[in-house]
Subunit: 284 residues, 2 copies
């Protein structure tokens, strides 16, 4: 099997490493718009060859779109256009983006829709680019396949096999539910980290103090604030309505804390903390 990965950043690059290493792909080809990243990906040996998009579509059996979701939404119909209708789903295209409804919309009525599988491997770090790619990134993590009834069984099977090689736990849901859940379980935690970094940077003009005083707790809470704007601007804007609902609930909860502290209401502060502690049951 020849896998073509479009976008050799953290996710695409890490996939390239493990898909070859674990024998899922005989060859991995890559497409990378940034020339510096393309050169790095070839030098590091992430892929067998970096080529242009047209060649990669022609040479590959399975195409993986691993670019920011705004670009992916423009690219997906173009790739489906290039698939020859008479060949059925000999070629398959999948994406790995963090929002799914928009991609569902741009592909829904395409005549080759069944050759596309929507997926979201929930793994990553706060780093980006081909240098951030690493083996084992996906092991044991959750992966969501969306709207699988819209894809041909053969295409779904190919993508399931890929995620099995990456050792991921696959869950199925429709793209609309996906975007609601990820707003709460992933997107909002990035926004809270960004806001925390902004708050501390705003108030602690002397960066040495932050450095000296930062505990492990602060570092872990602010870690996601290092995340890349190219990836997160389209996620937050494409999942706008769900993210806004999550942010509004979040601001309400912060306000409840604020009021309880302002009122010296220790019982209320305790109740809020103990309520929040229930997360222990879920997150180890």
């Amino acid at each position: 099997m020849v896998v073509g990965i479009i976008g050799l950043g953290l996710i695409g690059g890490s996939m390239a490493i493990d898909l070859r290493r674990r024998g899922f792909a005989d060859k991995v080809y890559g497409v990378e718009a940034e020339s510096v990243n393309a050169a790095a990906a070839e030098k590091i040996g992430l892929v067998d060859k970096v080529m242009d998009l047209e060649s990669c579509i022609r040479e590959s059996d399975l195409l993986v779109i691993a670019v920011p979701v705004g670009t992916a939404a423009r690219m997906l119909p173009r790739i489906l256009d290039s698939f020859a209708a008479e060949e059925g789903c000999r070629k398959v295209v999948m994406d790995v983006c963090s929002t799914k409804e928009n991609l569902a919309k741009v592909s829904r009525y395409h005549k080759m829709r069944s050759c596309y599988v929507a997926s979201h491997p929930m793994a990553g770090t706060e780093y980006s680019g081909p240098w951030a790619a690493m083996p084992g990134l996906f092991d044991g993590r959750a992966c969501i396949i969306c709207d699988s009834e819209e894809s041909s069984p053969r295409a779904v099977k190919m993508v399931e096999d890929l995620y099995a090689a990456l050792n991921m736990r696959v869950t199925y849901m429709n793209s609309s539910n996906h975007d609601v859940h990820t707003a709460y379980v992933s997107h909002i935690s990035h926004v809270t980290s960004f806001a925390l970094a902004l708050t501390v940077l705003d108030k602690e003009k002397d960066e040495k103090h932050i450095f000296d005083l930062a505990s492990g707790g602060f570092s872990s809470t602010v870690r996601l604030a290092k995340s890349n704007a190219d990836m997160w601007v389209p996620i937050l804007t494409q999942n706008r309505d769900n993210v806004l609902r999550a942010v509004d609930t979040y601001i309400e909860k912060m306000q409840a804390f604020r009021d309880a502290i302002a009122d010296y209401d220790e019982d209320k502060v305790r109740e809020l903390i103990e309520d929040a502690n229930r997360i222990k049951r879920i997150i180890r």
Copy 2:
């Protein structure tokens, strides 16, 4: 040297382990109000003996107050009362609490004030109790000694030696500045985690979804929400004014994100994220 540790939780228990192991203390005695914790601390062997407060004061050269800050504020004057004035600072008492101004207030005019050293070792985990105690917890972390000019040089030296044995980087500041800085670098990040947990638990009634979908990023951002109410209620209420200022700034930043996303203002979202990314320069 005999060290008496009052409160055998995560911090007190972890100190007990390393102070004995590294030869700073010949004996470590403990005081623990919760009988279950006291039995556990003796069984685990955290301390040589658990005893009542009066005996511990009598037997120890250096007393470490490692209880929640509300209790500490009631206990500190009582311990200083028990020190005999004619003996100078033969005995020394220190605390390890996360807020310092309140303790400064209750001790400021005590005739034995110079036998007290205020300190805050900035280390911990989200777990609590003697079972959470661990060796090496303090290694390489920051520690703040407050108002050291109010303490006798001998007392300060004793506490500095203790933190040297724990391998901590010591910083000096007054208790009022301490409480401002920790509000931004530590306390607010706990509030943001509690609020995040409440938001997700509120919206994701089906806990299985949270479990299935939680990525490493969400887990690290929500980790502090497991923190203990007995410790955090007094911290947040005793550092009320600074915490409120931090929370207000934080809500402003969240609101700025909200507005930019609501307005489809991708440039503004990007600007906020890139601004937040500056935290990379400070937190490795």
